[in-house]
Amino acid sequence: MIHSEEEVIQEAKRLNAEEHMTDFAHPVNVKLKTFRFNAETDYLPYYKTYEMTVTKDELVLDLLNRIKWEHDGSFSYRRSCRHGICGACAIKVNGKAVLACKENAQGLIKLFGEELVIEPQSQKRAVKDMIIDKGDFWQKHADVKPFVVADVDPHPSTETLISPERNEKFLESDYCIQCGACHYSCPALEVNEDYLGPAALVSAYRFSIDPRDSATEERLELTSELGIGVWDCVKCNECVEACPKELNPLEKITKLHNMQFEQGVAKRNVATKHAEGFVRSIRKYGYLDEADIVLYSEGYLGMYKHLGTAAKMMKAGKIHWHSGVPFIDSVPKIKNLDEVQKLIEISMTNTL
């Protein structure tokens, strides 16, 4: 059917109106409880609430802009690319790490209700409103040598070829935009400021997996150090949840763990023995031997730290002794244990 020009214009107007209907038919009123602080003039931070009506397409960045443009010109935040690649506008809304320019505002209202709490990534590092001092983040990033260490021929005759399989091993770790969302969501970092944190560890993985790189061993040694490296990850998955690029930092941390064993960098210590000790228990019982794993990881001398707890656990009936002696053969066995033993024998790929 052929439409007249007028019909087409009428139809376009109707569609346009309809779109606006849906746009404005369900605008949502929102209260933005916003963290305000100026390190130069304020002794303590405070919260100020701004009310506005939010349409379906508005992003958190639009709301930040409206606070600044319609309410208070002194409101400060970082923004640059506006399409999720520079990482500058990362903040937290109701504790959830977001890239302001990527996060739909009504989506958050659905998640948290009509009061949104707008906060910087780290309150203790706040400089002015949403702007924080990211110095710790960059220092840790630098610590892992986030670059390819290689003797490069200045006049190469061929390109460095990387197979698709090899490329897959990067697990998209090279997509990290250094926004800091995972770093400032990590509870391990919160209680141990020496810990490298998920973002630096993702970088360590990214360059260690690079076939051109020659500093892999050095990075693996650094990231295997107790107190700062992968063994201090608490496995809470906060970083997985926080990453706006969906890179799964914990997956890379696990790969770094594996690489320590694969490349023989792992030293025998409480953490590596704890990971490897699982095989020892499972081979024997199918289950983990809870008492043995502590004994095996810590060694006899290290056990003194646990004696108090062990005594309390024993008193509460948490430690069993089917054999008449505590800790000896205190663990039940699974059915068909021989299958598990066989599977360990044929599937185990690493050693300590």
Partner: protein, 298 residues
Amino acid sequence: MSQLHYALFTGCTAKQSTPELLSSTLAVAEKLGIKITILEEASCCGASHLQDFDEFLAHVLNARNICYAEKLGLTMITICNTCQLNSQMTKHALDTDPKLKARVNEKLAEVGLEYRGTSEIKHFLYTLIDDYGLDKIKEKVQVPLSHLNIAPFYGCHNIRPSELHAESNNHENPYNPTSLDSLIGALEGKPVEYESKNKCCGFHVELQANHASEVLSGNALLDAMDNNADVMVTPCPLCHLKMDTYQPSISKVMGRDVELPVLHMPQMVALALGCSEKEIGLNFHVQKAKQLYLSKKG
């Protein structure tokens, strides 16, 4: 509705240091008429530590566990967040990566098993809420918990990564989880609002980063106490072990007395359904919790 029937993956702790978790789970199932078949063949899930040593081996062992639920044609339920996470991670990896699935099945074939991907994996908490239903639980309450302020502690591995768990935990919001709160409400307890309810207890670095571990659980316990909790409840026995067993050393690190009974989720339900003291097993707690039997009567 036909009778609910599940294959139970107990995990290691329920078979060892937290026998009260297993007995209370079975007691709750019996009261509610849920049929449970224990997977006695299932091994340790690796607890996120074997994964650090040898990820492939961990997948093989977890796939083997799931095979036994598949053989029964049942949904596999877990009573430990970390078992839930690791089983679910293996299921997801195998279901989305045909090459890995083939590699794992090559090993499983050696012991006459095959992973197919036909069984769902769900934590008992979400089974109770989504499959059985809070309204029906409410009808069965014999001892309302109305005298208790109960702090829900969700445990990381049931709520994060949210995308992995979305199907099995009914799209729980990891930044504002509500399932455990609603369960407490259904048992007529008062859920405590506190910020730490979705935070990490630090269990997994207990040995190698003890201080960090103690501070993380200390923060959560004190937050609950400061918001007038009488008791904390968790669906994860690892959170339970950390928070219940270590309160004396946590007190030293935090410089404050930390004293709060910590219940397993099924123990709380068992209390409200009027299960026997033996089944609930509060005597197995390090932090004194036996008074809860008395207070429910009083």
